[in-house]
Amino acid sequence: MSEIILSAKDVVKKFGNITAVDGISFDVKKGEIFAFLGPNGAGKSTTIKMLTTMLRPTSGLLKLAGHDVTTERDSARKSFGIVFQDPSLDEELSAVENMELHATLYRIPKKEQPQRIEEMLKLVELWDRKGSLIKTFSGGMRRRLEIARGLLHEPKVLFLDEPTLGLDTQTRNTMWRYVKKLSQEKGMTIFFTTHYLDEAEDVAETIAIIDHGKIVARGTTEELCKQTETKSLEEAYLKLTGKEIREESTNNDGLNFKMSLRNSRLR
């Protein structure tokens, strides 16, 4: 059971003279829950966008379910589902209409659509709101619907880019319960990004810490602590990313980091 489903090799992405991703390599095993943990601007979303064919890498090789992501886009696209960092629902359509559109785009046979959509909407507890327009949904409901939509075509890999941003603690917990369940029951691989330390620690089997476009460490929480000779993921993270310096500064990074620290302490 150690089949590699997702791999990156020496991947670089430059935007003009900004190097967003600076030569990262990693493997994710089938069925694994893998977290990309890093501060704002570390290159998490850029990596996900490259893995999901939204951006072409400047150099390097990306493989997903046996397909080269840059040359076999359509096959790669059928193999994953994604919840983007930013909202991506059609607000003027209802929940079911958003799901139907997705089902057709992914060529799910018309006959199977109603049943699968019902199953997914029930999973995220939105079945009773199926006919409501998205513009009447709360942030948490939208997020749940996006997750249901990402799962509709039964992808092999599910990408979640900061899926719990802006969700309350209860919704976060329920969401992660679904995701863990899916990973266990369907052997689905989960790749998610976060800057909440607790989330990475609680949910992920493997954590890769990314900073300034580079993976600075990877492993389980225990392995990371061992590598850095620290006692908690928080300490390991601080040691690796040196963020106590940035925390003092008044820029956004510092602010967000403070928030994420506070969040991780709340636990």
Partner: protein, 250 residues
């Protein structure tokens, strides 16, 4: 199977349209205003100048204006999709961009066609009558052709700009001049040379002229020339849309 995909993308546009009643009213308000203000306001002078019935002359221009605005403004949906993220969902799906563009643009064109027909119907209230009913189906065919070209143009513009201000700027700089400098509102026979040059290179002039020929039996360029220019415009607009849409990045 893939016709299904084009169909659902088309359906999405139609659904969004009938859910926004304000958009329908907003786009029909202008033609009615034009018919009222110009049709009645200028009609009397026009007749005294010996040019005949101004409403007959004006209606093809107003229909063109309606589909011009509706086609280009439809592009705002692409811009919205880009700004509010839904385009990510479309672009990451295992469907070619061309299909996404075709399905969506057909939806936009359908809406424009409906609006053109509505204005045609409203014009009757203002006393407009087609010169030969027999030409009306042909005028309809031309309307469809125009709507496809103009919607593509709108999609191309929306794919090229990043925000609503940019889109508004394009509207003021390109779309409004294209309408006002087209012979939609006045005959081109006696205009000054510079205006004549502009109207001759403006593809909208030919759209107006073809509809005017078929609906009111008046023409400036002749239907043959109209059709040639419109065909070229059609191809260019579609190439523009495909090219720009292919380059959109989220």
């Amino acid at each position: 199977m893939d016709l299904n995909i084009i169909y659902v993308l088309w359906l999405r546009q139609i659904r969004r349209y009938y859910r926004s009643g304000s958009r329908l009213l907003g786009t029909l308000g202008q033609p009615i205003l034009l018919l009222l203000a110009l049709g009645y306001g200028i009609g009397a002078i026009y007749r005294r100048a010996g040019e005949g019935n101004y409403i007959q002359f004006l209606v093809p221009g107003v229909i063109t204006q309606t589909v011009l605005l509706s086609g280009i403004f439809w592009g705002i949906i692409i811009l919205q999709d880009k700004r509010f993220g839904f385009l990510s969902e479309l672009l990451v799906a295992p469907v070619s961009r061309l299909k996404i563009l075709i399905g969506s643009a057909l939806g936009g064109a359908t809406i424009s066609i409906l609006q053109g027909i509505l204005v045609f119907a409203i014009a009757f209230v203002f006393g407009f009558r087609p010169y030969h009913w027999i030409n009306v189906p042909l005028a309809f065919a031309i309307l469809v052709f125009m709507c496809l070209a103009l919607t593509s143009f709108g999609a191309g513009i929306a794919s090229s700009v990043d925000d609503f201000q940019g889109f508004q700027g394009i509207n003021n700089l390109i779309v409004l001049p294209m309408f006002f400098l087209s012979g939609a509102l006045y005959p081109l026979n006696n205009v000054p040379t510079f205006l004549k040059i502009i109207t001759t290179i403006n593809p909208v002039s030919y759209m107006v002229d073809s509809l005017r020929f078929l609906l009111a039996n008046q023409t400036h360029f002749g239907l043959g020339k109209d059709l040639i220019v419109m065909s070229i415009t059609f191809v260019v607009a579609i190439a523009f849309a495909v090219d720009r849409f292919n380059k959109v990045q989220m």
